[in-house]
Amino acid sequence: MNKPIDPIELNTNVGNVDGNIEIANISRRAFIKNMALTGFVLAAGFPSLTKADEIAPPTEKGKYGADGMPNGWVDNPLIFVAIAADGMVTIVCHRSEMGQGVRTSLPMVVADELEADWKQVRVEQAPGNEPRYGNQDTDGSRSMRHFFLPMRRVGAAARTMLESAAAAKWKVPVQDVRAEQHHVLHPATGRKLGYGELAKAAAKLPVPASETLRLKNPADFRYIGKGKTALYDGKDMVTGQAQYGIDIHLKDMLYAVIARPPVFGGKVLNYDAKEALKVKGVISVIELKGSPMPANFNPLGGIAVIASNTWAAIQGRKALKIEWDKGPNGTYDSVTYKTELEAAARKPGKVVRSNGDVDTALQGAAKRVEAEYYIPHLAQAPMEPPAATARIVKGKCEIWSCTQAPQVSRESVAKWLKLAEDDVTIHVTLLGGGFGRKSKPDYVVEAALLSQAMKGKPVKVTWTREDDLQHSYFHTVSIERLEAGLDAQGKAIAWLHRTVAPSISSTFGPDSKHQTPSELGMGAINVPYTIANLRIENPEAEAHTRIGWFRSVYNIPHAFAIQSFVTELAVAAGRDPKDFLLDLIGPPRRINPDTLGDAWNYGESPDLYPVDTGRLRGVIEAAAKESGWGRTLPKGHGLGIAAHYSFVTYVAVVVEVSVDESGKLRIPRIDVAVDCGPQVNPERIRSQIEGACIMGVSLATLGEISFKDGAVMQDNFHNYQLTRMDDAPYEIRVHLLPPTDFNTPLGGVGEPGLPPIAPALCNAIFAATGQRIRQLPIMDQLRKD
């Protein structure tokens, strides 16, 4: 058995550093640890902070943006801010940190409006509770886009309350006082009170109404837009102190791994645990019932091995003898399936957008070009595989997990354990990457069920890499078929796109075999091109595994096909690909996405967020200029361009490649231009875009999950490879388009960098070699033997 673990000592060896990041916070690692183990501890100051019943109901919700999300937004400062008598300001972050920097950026917004000194701010992670905090689904590149304004109001309201408290104390009009860096000042008399001194009185004041709040003039921002604020969790991350879901340790905790049905929809026929139970450290073997399809967020079932440490559980699992019933997907085979997708793409399918008369225009075209593009399934493969710890004490279940979906986790656990939601607490740890995988809490439910089976004892479920790669909610698999006609001048006059890919909706209900409006709205139907005759079709594709969200989702196949095809057309027309792309886009105009057949538009208002071809042109021109598009290149080098609108952000990229005589591909440089509207934390925007470039290269060159006899053929990083240092782009130059005008609505950041990478890369390979890649991954397609 394990011995109890002593608390880990805080490593304080990392001193202040010089560099491009200047404003460092005090490390609060010890506090995070306490929170993870004992729950939500809050300092005095705003005593009502912990009482959920005092939430003011948010006012007037519309249907777009955060308003359109489950549980919308909350901007009550009593929910998000606490100030202790010593002045320490606690700001609650209600979105999950998975590498995008949200635990720095959102609290930084509050702190700026609050005029708090960042050095006296600590961040508290909210548990899953959307009625209290507003929507917590950390996906869709939404955190800053949806919560920038609510968090500004939180900060401004708290600041106003502090100012009012000071004015009352001094008996002066509130207009005569001013908050500045953790103090309220009365300039006329030079008096000054610290936030800690004012907190108690301020907390007793009514929360000012949203419409009365005075938001800061952006010119006065201290942190917002500066990109100088150090990562809140950075020091913990580089000293091994950061706590991820997989790191949770509770007293008397048990460790579990699960053998799940190799084929989705399969189940256990029978099993023999005798040998497993002989493994030193193995305590118990438990069968988990599977769930009927559709997959939903349900656990897959299987045989769980419970042990005194993870390794013993893994060894125990190896010793299990299990006979599986494969179920209805037992013949799923990626090679066969690809031919089915191709066949579907070569026949007419459901028309989802139609302008003009494509067939006649194609017949009359001087030149016709057609191409088919394939992208296989992909696994998100976050470096931290899914993990969750659960315990049940007196009918109350407590969970610690790396989840992008804290509220959905809460609802799922409540449903499976037949508990009231109030009796389920979800503590959100740091996520070692998410990329959409951790939006699905099947693993959280597993931990809850195993704790229940072990009479409420704490149980940590760890997914091994094999589990992660074989039982993900995979990125779809797709054939995109494009056909276009050019007139005698090389102008595109007809465009026919058939997009064939199983839909994520199959994971949640009967398989309609068609992409949903939002999936089609990810770059397939909403192409803003000036082609008079244009038709988009969506033939049927049936799902045979759990299909889920993968960073940027259906934008990946749509952008790969369309942006590859645009360069193919340019070549056919004898034109420069950048000029050809700009001509297709046409003059700057603001297009209502509805008129492009896209009523979804990432859930944003078509008035606030039109498809702005001027901005799309802007990023293309910037990427071209910064990359030196058209420059003379060494032998074997080539430049490729691609641009894509997604998550209401505009991105264009120019990739430079070199391919040597043996076919070895290198990427010396990527120039990527981004117009995401106002830039709240430009430093983290850059890091997200850099990461998206590398993930795009990774999926383009190496990414493939394939099925045979219903099961995934890849099981670890030797056969599901990810880009490593030696093959990564050497230099990534991120060009954020100016200016940062905070009146423009914000765009998303986490995902939109990804879609244009693969096509720009393949266009560059074509420029360098004349070889056109239409099937991903590239793998050894370039190799010359």
């Binding site: 394990n2 011995k3 002593d6 880990i8 000592e9 490593n11 060896n13 990392v14 001193g15 550093v17 010089d18 560099g19 491009n20 990041i21 460092a24 940190e97 590498g99 920097g101 150090a230 950075g234 991350m237 580089v238 000293t239 091994g240 102190q241 950061a242 991820y244 997989i246 790191d247 340790h249 450290g281 440490n309 993870t310 013993a312 976050p382 470096m383 931290e384 595989p385 070692g432 990457g433 760890t462 091994t464 890499r465 010396p668 983290r684 850099e690 990461g691 998206a692 590398i694 993930m695 670890n716 990083f717 030797h718 880009t723 490593r724 240092m725 030696d726 990564a728 050497y730 230099e731």
Partner: protein
């Protein structure tokens, strides 16, 4: 009972000696800074120093560490080079999710101990065993150079 020297302290470990060090550190000693990523020596997340050499703790049994000096991410800041690496990592904002960074820092520290002024090729060789799914490689490269005091010359 096996005795291991971890971060300058001696620890008694009551686990089968074929247990990988990774799980002994994480589940038994409670040093969770060393991460699990693959369990097959493919990702580098579990990198520790054994007698100063970077090793993958997921495939190094407890028995192989007896009598040797184990240093993990939790103590690498006590080393002058390790501290420089951590500082450079923070200054350049290297981490995204941070999960791979323990292993990256252990690998980078070992590199600079062997080659105080590594070339790009040295960096590729030393670091390509460490996967970062978030894609922090360009910043890792720059941070290693910054820690080594190398002026960055872009080709």
């Amino acid at each position: 009972m096996t005795t291991l020297n971890i971060n300058g302290k001696s620890h008694k470990i009551d686990l089968p000696t074929d247990t990988p060090l990774l799980w002994a550190l994480r589940d038994y000693v409670g040093l969770t800074g060393t991460k699990f990523g693959c369990g097959m020596s493919l990702c580098g997340a579990c990198t520790i120093h054994l007698d100063g050499q970077p090793v993958r703790s997921c495939v190094t049994p407890v028995s192989a560490a007896v009598g040797k000096v184990i240093v993990t991410i939790e103590a690498i800041g006590q080393d002058a080079i390790g501290k420089k690496i951590q500082e450079a990592w923070l200054a350049l904002g290297v981490p995204q999710c941070g999960y791979c960074q323990s292993g990256q820092i252990m690998a980078a520290t070992a590199l600079l101990k062997q080659k105080p002024e590594p070339t790009d090729a040295d960096i590729d060789t030393a670091m390509s065993g460490n996967i970062c799914r978030c894609g922090t490689y360009p910043r890792i490269r720059s941070a290693i150079k910054q820690a080594a005091g190398i002026k960055e010359i872009k080709p």
